[in-house]
């Protein structure tokens, strides 16, 4: 590695890139973990309403420790606040918003994404693992635009963007955009198109970290 080590974007920069691409007025669901960072980077002057599938539209910032409320949490079960104009609703209504196509954008993590936009993010299929799915399958089927926010490769350096997913699918042909530490990639009918590469990343390097065909616009 040494001098040639490619660093790419850090998580905050990735979150900032996604946030910049979320238009004013959008209803957005952020997945558990990394995607939650996106809320911190919405550009000033834009009004974005965050949905959490456990029953709140208008998720606000994390509260101070002493203001945490056990009954005001997000889908990751972390304490949140509710903005002015927020509303609470039950689970069937919440998923009517999701499945009914009322949520504009969902940002979530991934184990694998395939060339045609298949997503695997709920199970590695390992024997002995406790299967757990939550709302991921509903979100990918129902939300208009699905954005994946992930490192380009696994901790062991294996590509996450692959020809075909080997892990059990969350949804087929559901991903629209992939934001990684190395690049921003659009999933189109004609394949994976690289929209932008991080500073210091060239197309050859990107291809070497990717197990699916990449194209340039």
């Amino acid at each position: 590695m040494g001098l040639n080590e490619v660093k790419g974007w850090n998580k905050e920069e990735m979150a900032g890139k996604i946030a910049c691409d979320i238009p004013d007025g959008a209803y957005v669901n952020l997945g558990i973990g990394l995607p939650e960072l996106v809320a911190n980077y919405i550009p000033e002057g834009r009004e974005v309403i965050f949905h959490t599938e456990n029953g709140l539209l208008g998720v606000g910032p994390s509260p101070a420790k002493e203001l945490e409320d056990d009954e005001l949490i997000n889908a990751g079960k972390k304490p949140v606040t509710a903005i002015k104009g927020a509303c609470f609703f039950h689970h069937a209504d919440s998923f009517a918003m999701v499945r009914g196509g009322h949520i504009d954008i969902c940002v979530l993590g991934a184990f694998q994404i395939s060339e045609n936009g298949d997503l695997a993010n709920w199970s590695t299929g390992e024997p002995g693992a406790i299967p757990a799915v939550g709302g991921a399958m509903d979100l990918v089927e129902g939300v208009k635009t699905i954005i994946v926010f992930t490192q380009h490769t696994t901790k062991n350096g294996e590509p996450k963007i692959v020809k075909e997913c080997t892990y059990p699918l969350t949804g087929k042909g559901v991903v629209n955009h992939i934001y990684t530490d190395l690049a921003v990639i659009d999933v189109t009918e004609n394949g994976l198109f690289v929209r932008e590469m991080a500073p210091g990343v060239d197309f050859e390097y990107l291809k070497s970290c990717t197990a699916a065909e990449l194209k340039l616009y």
Binding site: T52, E53, N54, G55, L56, D69, D70, E71, L72, I73, N74, K77, A82, F88, F89, H90, H91, A92, S94, F95, V98, R99, S123, G128, I130, P131, A132, V133, G134, G135, A136, M137, D138, E141, G142, P168, L169, T170, G171, K172
Partner: protein, 238 residues
């Protein structure tokens, strides 16, 4: 006179029988009716099928019910969380059954059950292992999977305010599955932090109409699951 108020949690759960199917409200700890669950542990009904989003945390509430070997099968969307230790261990030993259902499908199956809809088609889980073996149908060229409505013998639900008719108001994200579970259970049992006189709840803002509720017990200061877990408490209390 209609009066759904009962005096204690133990009286509220006294009719629960062995082999019953029970819906339990809550998403994580928000909305989990811990006092009712603990009364059910004291009551002792066993061989239960429990429908709840998660499988409980630590060694209290739903986790304690499972640990007490009263639950034969869990129907849920997310059986493991950071503090869930009881269910994973029993599941690995093959001592408890699991039906894994996507969260939105779980909510809609419960809603449908309560609304007299035996089955419906949803795009969720199509092309995944969770749709295997299920009936599929195309609508406008797009595939959907058939899912069944679910009903239950009982629901255990936590809310903020109730009146003697069973009209309910909830608290923030603790509302989650409560309203649909009240609809889908033949016998919805509710613990409310406050019971008020009829007329005190504005009819315009009632969340769950009393017709869906059979029993209400006032639990003025419900325990905090988070705090009990931080204190490493177990039920039955040591």
């Amino acid at each position: 006179m209609i009066n759904k108020i009962v005096k204690s949690a133990s009286e509220a759960v006294s009719g629960i029988f062995d082999g019953a199917t029970i819906m339990i409200s809550g998403f994580g700890e928000a909305g989990s009716p811990i006092e009712l669950i603990h009364a059910l542990i004291d009551h002792g009904a066993k061989d239960l099928t429990v429908i709840s989003n998660n499988t409980g945390n630590g060694h209290i509430g739903l986790a304690a019910l499972i640990e007490n070997k009263q639950v034969r099968k869990m129907i849920c969307s997310f059986p493991r969380t950071a503090n869930s230790v009881v269910f994973p261990e029993l599941y690995r030993k093959g001592e408890i059954d699991l039906e894994l259902v996507p969260q939105g499908t779980l909510a809609e199956r419960i809603r449908a059950g309560g609304a007299g809809i035996p089955a419906f088609f949803t795009p969720t889980s199509v092309n995944t292992p969770l749709a295997e073996g299920k009936e599929m149908r195309l609508f406008d060229g797009k595939p959907y999977v058939m899912e069944f409505g679910i009903k239950a013998d009982f629901a255990l639900v936590k809310c903020r305010i109730a009146d003697r008719y069973g009209n309910l108001l909830f608290n923030k994200t603790a509302r989650n599955f409560g309203p649909v579970m009240c609809m889908a259970a033949s016998h919805a049992i509710v613990q409310a932090s406050q019971v008020v006189e009829t007329g005190e709840i504005d009819p315009e803002i009632v969340v769950t109409p009393g017709i869906f509720v059979k029993k209400v017990v006032e639990i003025a200061n419900p325990v905090s699951e988070n705090q009990l877990i931080r204190e490493n408490r177990r039920y039955p209390w040591a």
